[in-house]
Every structure is written in structure tokens, then in C-alpha cells.
Amino acid sequence: MTGQGAAPEVLVIGIGPSLRGDDSAGPLAVARWRERRTAESRPPVEVVCLEAPGLGLLEVMAGARRVVLVDAVRSGAPPGSVHSMTAEALAAFKSDSRSAHGWGVGETLALARLVCPERLPEDLNIVGIEIENLDPGQELSPAVAASLEAAADLIEGLVQGQPAAAQVLSA
């Protein structure tokens, strides 16, 4: 968890286990994006990478107004596709209870909307990286490895406050 100087305005969260093939795409994309930033980069951000937060995601986001969440998804699009979504659109993805993250991101957000909407950030955007291989290990499949730059571009755009039209950047 790192603040960069001034009080963070945006919380960037990468989600995914580090030893499960492409499932680590979220944290790796966040790491790629971070390499581009310096202490002077604006706006100030806070960065958190989590392997399997489950419902704990709500605690991690507590108090944050703007959040960019970066996670692996499977929707049937070609591996390496990068999706930009709002939290509502995430419901269309099957990353919910079947996610290897235990209690999935989609389900956690849906539950929070029902019972404690006040705990959700006002501005929540999700970057989803379409994955392929979930075999144990640190190897990424080539299409997913090649998508990390595009995902990093999208994270930067969202951090800069560019509007997140639902879009898919094809692999």
C-alpha cells in the first residue's frame, strides 16, 4: 500500500492470486502502470494489490471516493481483451461466485449495493482483463502478457478522470 506524497485522490486496486497463471493479470497490469508514475505524477493515488479479498474488498474501499479496480475476467471475448466497465456492467460477467477469488468481485459489489450502498465509492470503474490459462505458476499466456500495456493505458485514463465509456480494447 503506497501513497505518493499528497493525500490520495484515487484508489487503484489490483485483484488476483500471484501463482495462478493469468489470474494475476490484475495486479500485473497495476504494476505495469505504476512503473510509469513518478512522485510528481498527478493526481496522487493509493495502490493496493490483493490476492483474494472476497468480502474484504468492501473494507479496502471504505472511505475512498474514486476507485479503479483491475481484475481478471472471463466473458468469452478473446484472451487479452481489456474491458472497461462500470460496477453495474460487471453483473454481465461471470466473474462472480465462480471466481477463483472465493467470494467474487461481482457478487461482493452486488451485495454491497443491496445492504450497505453507503460503503461503495461514488465513482467506481473496473478494468477487466480477459484471461485464458489458470494453471498454477507465474506464467502468463502470451495474449494476456501482451495486453498489460493496453490495460495500463486504460488505468491511467481512468485515474486522470477520463469518462469510462463501456468499451472493449480487442486483443
Binding site: 468480502l55 474484504g56 472465493g102
Partner: protein, 427 residues
């Protein structure tokens, strides 16, 4: 013959598949297929320094990292001839209590309760009864806060090490949790009384239960391995009597006990074998609802989780109130060659680790026997026992009943798996 696709088996932590082929009322074929990564981790641990192991094994499971850390440190401490102090053991129990709180609160409310209340998911339950779900979230969050305070981080804690903890948690940070823990003890007690009123499916089997047992306390990290049939066994002899074997349809190994048959680990096994050791807070609740052991209905593991949730809050409160460490947070550990076995009771059941180290303290061999893999053969046997009685129901109902039974075991396939889809074939 017809093949029927039924909904995915959700609310199981992870991925797997269940295939059932019925011929009339008879089960012709039944395969619970689960993909298991601890096997991969065993290879990944080879050549690593012993002090790296707790941090790596914590990553096997996002739901029960403490169990993996504790079983590994117990095994490694035995290999290295290390004994830790009472203060360290107390903090380990607190650490473990935090994990029970998180895991049990999640399973009881979010994973199993929807089945017992006729809901499709915790989401529909939340829509109908938001207060219940809010209470669940708070019960769980307190476990999360406790885990973070003791373990340094809430998801993959980093503070535990071979020999103890890298540093003591701040006493004031722990004490700040006392009001929440007191609320949690009360709320957990209400939760158990609520659970005791639920309508459980009518199904019983004769089980061999296997769990750690100690005469002095409800065993989580101590004692010997007790079987309801065969009595007690040293942890070091566990792999001699409880044998893993491969089945063609699963990458996870299955396990059989001394008789060559399936056995059950987990909260029900623990409660049935350690009922006398329940703390008074939990024992009085059990008495209040007239609960006695053995409980042979696998769905009623929910009640065992309920009592363990009460115990975990009670124990956490006791340890936090007394927390005032005077000695070092870890004892010195020198590398040496040796081997050691360790077991602890993960929320889902007995988790066994065995390591052999070389003179430099590097891992030569590692063996991890997770609770869910041990239960797989037992779950299959339960499904075989249940299916003839419900074979006349519509496919969707059969599917739901199978799912509910699997979920009652709280299989942590999250260390393992992605999709648990159910295929049902009829002939």
C-alpha cells in the same frame, strides 16, 4: 439416455465439477472433480529456506491462510527442534480465532444459509433480510480486523514465522477491538440460536470422524489425531494410516482411512470428538437447545460452525484482554537437517503438513494434505447415499440437493478451482 445441464454449483469456494449418471434410481456413476493446487505448491516449496515457507503457504488459500501458515510452522518447528513460549502460543490461538470468525461467518450466512432458507443466493437472502446479512458482514469484518491487527495484513498475513511472530501486535490496537469482540460474542450466540431453529434436510450417515483432540482444550493446534473408530494417533503417524490415492476423474487426491474407506474432517468431526472441551460460553448454548453428540447429519455442520464462532469470539476476547507480552515475539531458530509433521484444524478440517529439511534449512520434500481433499471421498459417498432417495424429483431439484450437500461441507476449492458445473445424465 438424456443428458441434462443444470446450473453451476455456486457458493462453493472455487472450482470443480460434479457428474452424476442415474439408471433409474441407482447411481451408475458419480464423479466429483476438483482441481487442487497444494500439489503444485509442494513442488514450489522445494529448495526454499524454511523461513520462506509460512509466507508461501499462506498464499495457497485466500480463505484460510492462517491454517496453512500454522500447520507449516508447527511442522517446521518440529523438524528444527524448536519450542515456542506460552505467550506466542496464545497469540497463535488469537490469530487462528480470527480466521475461524471470518471463515465461519462467511459460510454460515453467505454460503449455507441460503440453501436452508430456500434462497438462490446470499443476494436474494440479502434482499429479503438485509439486517441478517448486515450482521453477517459485521461479524466477518471483526475477524478481518483482528487478523489484520495480529497478522499485519488481512488477506495474506505476513507476521507469522517459524519460531513465533516477527513482532508483537500493538496492545492498544488489540484492546481497541474489545467493544467489537464483545458485540461479536453476543451476536454469534444469537446466530447459533437462530441456526438451531433452521430446518435441516433429513439425512444421516454413519461416519468415521477425524480431528485433532486434546484433553485440555478444544484442539486447533495441539493434541493427537483422534478417529471416532480407531482412537488416537500421533500427528507424525498420520500419513501412515490416512492414505491419499489418485482417482482418474480428479486432479485432487482422495483419502481413505485405516479401513480403506472414506472419513470426515471439519467442524462436525471436531464437535463430535471434542464436545467435552467446548468453552462454557458454547457448551451452555448447546445445552440450551438440547444439542448432543454425535451429530450424524452433515448439514448440521452449520451448528458446529455456530458453536465454534461463539468459542472463537470468547477466546479472542480472553486473549486480547490478557495480552501483555513480556518476552520476545519469536524464539531463535537455527537451521539443521531434520523432518517434522504438523497439523492444525483449518476451519474446514484437519490440515496436515510434513517437511524434510537439509543442513542449511532448505526444504527437500514437502507434503500438504488439505481438508477438502480428505473430504472428497466422503462427499461422494454421501451423494451416493442421498441420490436414490431423491431420484424421482425433477432434475433441477436433484441438482439443488446435490449442491446443498456439497456446500454443507464448505469445500474450500478456492485453493483449487474455478467452475463447479454439474452434469446430470439419466438412463
Amino acid at each position: 439416455m438424456k443428458t441434462i445441464q443444470v446450473p453451476a454449483l455456486a457458493r462453493v469456494e472455487g472450482e470443480g465439477g460434479l457428474f452424476v449418471r442415474l439408471e433409474g434410481e441407482q447411481v451408475a456413476e458419480l464423479k466429483l472433480n476438483i482441481y487442487e493446487p497444494p500439489r503444485f505448491f509442494e513442488g514450489f516449496l522445494k529448495g526454499r529456506h524454511f523461513q520462506e515457507i509460512p509466507d508461501i503457504t499462506a498464499r495457497i488459500c485466500g480463505i484460510c491462510p492462517v491454517a496453512y501458515q500454522m500447520s507449516s510452522v508447527l511442522a517446521l518447528e518440529q523438524a528444527l527442534g524448536v519450542t515456542v513460549t506460552d505467550e506466542i502460543n496464545a497469540l497463535r490461538r488469537l490469530f487462528y480465532a480470527a480466521e475461524y470468525i471470518e471463515s465461519h461467518a462467511l459460510h454460515m450466512f453467505m454460503l449455507q444459509a441460503p440453501d436452508l432458507l430456500g434462497h438462490q443466493s446470499a443476494l436474494s437472502l440479502a434482499a429479503e433480510n438485509p439486517e441478517l446479512v448486515k450482521k453477517a458482514l459485521r461479524l466477518k469484518k471483526i475477524g478481518n480486523d483482528l487478523l489484520k491487527t495480529v497478522g499485519g495484513r488481512s488477506v495474506h498475513p505476513v507476521n507469522a514465522c517459524v519460531g513465533g511472530f516477527y513482532r508483537w501486535p500493538k496492545a492498544h490496537a488489540l484492546q481497541a477491538l474489545i467493544p467489537d469482540l464483545s458485540w461479536g460474542l453476543e451476536a454469534a450466540s444469537e446466530t447459533f440460536l437462530w441456526a438451531a431453529e433452521l430446518d435441516f434436510p433429513d439425512f444421516e450417515e454413519d461416519y468415521e470422524w477425524v480431528a485433532l483432540h486434546s484433553d485440555s482444550r478444544y484442539a486447533v493446534m495441539e493434541g493427537s489425531v483422534r478417529s471416532s473408530i480407531h482412537g488416537d494417533l500421533d500427528v507424525a503417524d498420520f500419513q501412515r494410516d490416512y492414505v491419499e490415492f489418485q482417482v482418474p476423474h480428479s486432479t485432487a487426491l482422495h483419502s481413505h482411512g485405516r479401513d480403506g474407506g472414506p472419513y470426515m474432517v471439519g467442524p462436525l468431526a471436531r464437535l463430535n470428538l471434542n464436545f467435552e472441551q467446548l468453552r462454557p460460553e458454547a457448551a451452555s448454548l448447546a445445552a440450551r437447545v438440547g444439542l448432543s453428540v454425535p451429530i450424524k447429519n452433515p448439514y448440521k455442520a452449520l451448528l458446529a460452525r455456530g458453536l465454534e464462532l461463539v468459542q472463537s469470539y470468547a477466546e479472542a476476547l480472553e486473549i486480547v484482554r490478557a495480552f501483555q507480552p513480556s518476552g520476545p515475539s519469536h524464539v531463535p531458530v537455527e537451521p539443521r537437517s531434520g523432518e517434522g509433521a504438523g497439523a492444525s484444524e483449518a476451519p474446514r478440517g484437519l490440515l496436515f503438513h510434513h517437511y524434510r529439511l537439509d543442513e542449511a534449512g532448505l526444504v527437500e520434500t514437502a507434503r500438504i494434505v488439505p481438508p477438502t481433499a480428505q473430504n472428497l471421498a466422503r462427499i461422494e459417498a454421501d451423494l451416493r447415499g442421498m441420490l436414490p432417495g431423491i431420484a424421482g424429483l425433477p432434475d433441477d431439484d436433484i441438482s439443488l440437493a446435490c449442491e446443498a450437500l456439497v456446500r454443507a461441507y464448505d469445500p474450500c476449492i478456492s485453493c483449487s478451482t474455478h467452475f463447479l458445473t454439474l452434469d446430470l445424465e439419466r438412463q
